[in-house]
Structures are given as structure tokens and as C-alpha cells.
Amino acid sequence: MSELESRIVKSIYPRKSYGLDRQNRFLWFSPEWGRESLAAHGVEFSREKYVGHNFFDFLSGPEAKLVYQALFQVLRRRPGPGLKLTLRCDRMDAKSILILDLQSHEHEELVVSLDYVLIDPYELNSAVPQDWAAPLRMCSWCQDIFAEDSKEWLPIERALGDMFVLQQLPIPSFTHTCCTRCVKIIRGKAHAYPGS
């Protein structure tokens, strides 16, 4: 359990999930979405508003899109135990932490499970002492992120999890580069590129 998870105040809603197809279109929603909608807003959850539509059409801000695109790319490229990370969520009704569990299934389908949890905002602020004035360096090919403090490339889920990066306001910007490992791989494939 992470330091953050150990300081969670309480869960707001039951854990819920949705599935995405390989084009990132919503496939299904777990029943908890309907229960939450009724309990929180007094209205039925409208699945038809989402099913068949692209996940990214419902995100705002290039940084958030970039992070999810990178996570999805990593998941589809590396099926296995999945990814788990905590993100800041600035919902209209409650500032909270979103704990995401992402799993890759057959045919590049993804299952995203999420918990919204409340955390004391003062606790949150004290948990993120870093200054993100400088953009984070992301490898455009493997999506690893360069950790300036340890001077190493980290897998995105570890980098974001370790840095609590998305719990900051504003979300830091990213600059795109090529990590040392991918430089070697890509340059090694030079003969396979045009002209050959």
C-alpha cells in the first residue's frame, strides 16, 4: 500500500469499471455506474451517451490525453499484470484522488477500474513537495519518463506513481524526446528505413 493510499479518508463511491475496445471506444460499463449516478445525481446513467464513443472525446486538456494515451500504449504493448496508479481528480462535486487499475485483455481490449477516494486537501498538498516548473521529459517511443532527481528513465506508471505528478495543479507539461534505449534501437534499425 502506498503512502497516499494509507492516508485515504474514505471511498466516495463503490469501485466501478468500464471496457474499451482497441480503438478506445467504450464497450460496457459495470452496474455501479448506474447506482452512483442515481445516488449522486438522481438520474439514470446514460450508457448510450458513451458506448461506441471514443474515450478521448470525453477528456479535456492535452496533458491528460497524453498521459492516458501513453498508459494505453504501454498496456497494449506489454500485456501482463496491468498498471495501477493514483491520479488527482478535480471533480465538480469533490476534490478527490482517483485510483486507477488498468488491465489489458484479448484483442487489445482494456478494462479500466476506478475508485474515487477523498483525501484531506492539506494532506494532499503536503504529499507533493516537488516543483514541476520544468516539463517532464517523456520518450515518444516507449513512454518512459526521465526522473530528474535520480537521472534515470522510469516506466510511466512508476514515474507518475512515484512523483504524484498528476496530483499537482496544474498538470505538468511534457516535452517529448527519445530515451537512451530507444535511440539505440531506432538508430539500429536505420537500414530498414527508406532508401533501403
Binding site: P62, K65, S140, T175, H176, V183, R187, A190, P194, G195
Partner: protein
């Protein structure tokens, strides 16, 4: 064929320079829009390949600046973000390449634009 590659990330600049030169294209590089404009004043180039997200005004301002002084000079833009995430003057560019994509497609884009 002579290309100006503009990116604030030196690793990207060197990587792109390597592949373009493999294709027999000569490359000049710049790490910022002001440096790029300075290069354009002193060198004749056939195309500009520029990152969109950079300090000093970024790629969008660079496109506008180039358009004012050399309106016929082809410009290809690139970014790690998606093209739909930017409001850049598309009519003044000859294509978009997403970083992390196939470098083959970038080379094709460059050759088509010139």
C-alpha cells in the same frame, strides 16, 4: 535538398538529423524559434521541420514568423501530442508528424512537401 530541423530537445534534433542525412538530405538544426529565424536569415532552406511545443513562443509563433518572411517555404510540424490538441495554422503547414511514430512516414512527408 536542405532542411532546417527545429526542436528544443537536442536528442530529437540529432535523431532526426541522423535519419534525414541517411536519406541524402542536408540538415541545419536549431533549438529554439529565435535561433531558427536567425538560421533562415543566413541560410537557404527548402523546408522547415519544427516541433510545436517549445519555449520562446513555440512552433505556432514560428510558423507565423516564417510565413511573414518566406510565405512559400514548406513547413512540417511535429509533436508528441496529437495534432488535434493544437490550434496551429494548418493552412500554413504541409503536414504533421507525431513523435514516436514511424520515421519512414516522416521521410515520406518531407519528400512529398518539397
Amino acid at each position: 535538398m536542405h532542411i532546417l530541423v527545429v526542436d528544443d530537445d537536442q536528442v530529437m534534433v540529432e535523431l532526426l538529423q541522423y535519419f534525414l542525412e541517411e536519406e541524402g538530405i542536408s540538415v541545419t538544426t536549431a533549438n529554439s524559434p529565435p535561433e531558427a529565424m536567425n538560421r533562415l536569415q543566413h541560410e537557404a532552406v527548402d523546408l522547415v521541420l519544427s516541433d510545436l511545443v517549445m519555449p520562446d513562443g513555440g512552433g505556432c509563433r514560428l510558423i507565423e514568423s516564417i510565413h511573414k518572411v518566406q510565405p512559400l517555404l514548406p513547413v512540417i510540424v511535429m509533436s508528441g501530442y496529437g495534432s488535434q490538441d493544437f490550434n496551429y495554422p494548418r493552412e500554413q503547414t504541409q503536414g504533421f508528424w507525431q513523435k514516436g511514430g514511424d520515421i519512414n512516414s516522416l521521410i515520406s512527408l518531407v519528400k512529398r512537401a518539397i
